[in-house]
């Protein structure tokens, strides 16, 4: 382990230990932070949904092997963030949770994040299959795995407020729905 690696690891550890994560019971009743799926990000760090609390978060789901709609989901999320001027858009975090527990490894998530030029505000996450089902159920996203390993899925983009409450959602791709843009402008 290099000095830098160790420092990064320590900072990550400190963030985990010191993060003011409220117990689940302290979040509003309709907060997404009431569920506790075990997620791992594109850098291999374990985290919980509530670690994103404190600011607006755009949440959607995808899988790296998806060639048709998923790239469009990434584009639409980026478009939504870019509705805000530089300096404010950075306040909006992005969480993309993979449907594909099998093939979206940490290394694959990393490659996908790079392919979509995701900046530091983006978190791509993987989880075990039951936790993926839990996240999708809480978000109202539908998906099914096909024998080929591809997934059918709905492609909602959900906006959470700082307390994890769903404030806006959009199923339209390629453009930012006005309601989503308005909610973003209000929150960020």
């Amino acid at each position: 382990m290099t000095h830098l690696d160790r420092r990064t690891a320590l900072v990550a550890l400190a963030a985990t230990v010191l993060a003011p994560a409220a117990p689940a019971a302290d979040w509003p009743g309709d907060s997404l932070y009431r569920i506790a799926p075990r997620l791992v990000d594109q850098d291999g760090r374990a985290f919980g949904l509530a670690d994103l609390a404190g600011g607006p978060v755009l949440v959607s789901m995808f899988y790296s092997g998806c060639e048709m709609v998923c790239p469009l989901i990434f584009e639409t999320v980026a478009l939504a963030r870019n509705v805000l001027p530089a300096g404010r858009r950075e306040r909006v975090r992005v969480l993309m949770v993979s449907f594909d527990s099998e093939r979206d490894t940490v290394a694959q998530l990393k490659r996908t994040a790079e392919a979509h030029h995701c900046d530091a505000g983006w978190t791509l996450a993987r989880a075990a299959a039951p936790d993926v089902r839990l996240v999708a159920a809480a978000l109202g996203i539908q998906y099914r795995r096909l024998p080929s390993g591809a997934f059918n899925h709905s492609s909602d983009i959900v906006l959470l407020d700082g307390l994890g409450r769903i404030t806006a959602r959009s199923a339209r791709l390629g453009e930012v729905e006005p309601a989503l843009a308005t909610a973003l402008a209000r929150l960020a």
Binding site: I35, V69, A137, N152
Partner: protein, 261 residues
């Protein structure tokens, strides 16, 4: 370790004790689902169902009452809106007081999240749709009675029962696997209820709704004569995970009796 996972692990360790629920072993095997299992939304693809164990009866009110006693976070009034709607356990007299005379009836007015938490507490999980459909294809003598018009008529007869009638107690006549009440008592949650999205009109299945769904689009019903299954799928696919209904209960499944799901 997350407390709930720890509880699940403990539940697992304790399974086999007197309190453990009664599961039947189902051999699985080749199965033609009424829903498309292949990549194309309009072709029958025979799939393999792995052997699994399924609760012989739906979870009862008495069993659910024991669960909320030991899991206060699932008592009525304590469950956040994200995890169950306002109807949750609506018929109960209090958070620990189920309706009188209902002990042996299937518990209803529970959300998917709640059903899942219950199953986790006994080291199990909800069955997948495919497992449920496979199990529900049986009758008293056959593992797959679906082609028999009498099988279909019997199920459709239940659908015609007025919704106001009181639910029967669990423990109807067991099928060939030793499982009861898959039809005729309540609808049941499945783990992947949110995988059952179907096109609103099955005639559009060659023209999937690509605007909403990535990939092959919404699925159509392959066996359009099989209204018994169609109605299940239509109902489940209309639900959100926090929804509850007075006719909707659940049962749990696991890989093998006493083995991790």
């Amino acid at each position: 370790m997350h407390p709930r996972r720890l509880a699940a692990a403990l539940g697992l360790a304790l399974s086999g004790l007197a309190q453990a629920a009664d599961y039947a072993s189902l051999p699985g095997g080749r199965f033609d689902s009424a829903l498309p299992q292949g990549d194309a939304p309009d072709a029958v693809v025979t799939v393999g169902v792995a052997p699994f164990a399924l609760r012989r009866t739906p979870v009862t009110v008495a069993e659910y009452a024991r669960f909320v006693e030991t899991h206060p976070e699932w008592r009525r009034g304590a469950v956040p809106a994200l995890l169950a709607d306002a109807r949750y356990l609506v018929g109960w007299r209090g958070p620990l007081e189920p309706p009188p005379g209902a002990a042996a009836r299937p518990v209803v007015d529970v959300s998917w999240f709640a059903a899942r938490a219950f199953c986790e507490s006994e080291g199990a999980r909800l069955p997948t749709w495919l497992e449920w459909e496979y199990a529900a294809a049986a009758d008293e003598t056959r593992t797959d009675a679906r082609a028999d018009p009498a099988w279909r008529r019997r199920i459709l007869g239940w659908y015609e029962r007025p919704g106001s009638a009181a639910l029967p107690d669990v423990g109807g006549p067991p099928d060939v696997h030793g499982v009861s009440d898959l039809h005729g008592v309540v609808w049941e949650w499945v783990e992947d209820f949110n995988a059952l999205f179907i096109s609103g009109d099955s005639r559009t299945q060659g023209d999937p709704d690509r605007a909403r769904f990535c990939g092959a689009g919404a699925i159509g019903l392959l066996d359009r004569e099989n209204y018994a299954v169609l109605m299940r799928v239509a109902f489940l696919s209309s639900l959100g995970a926090a929804d509850t209904a007075g006719t909707l209960g659940f049962r749990c499944a696991r890989a093998q009796p006493g083995v991790s799901p």
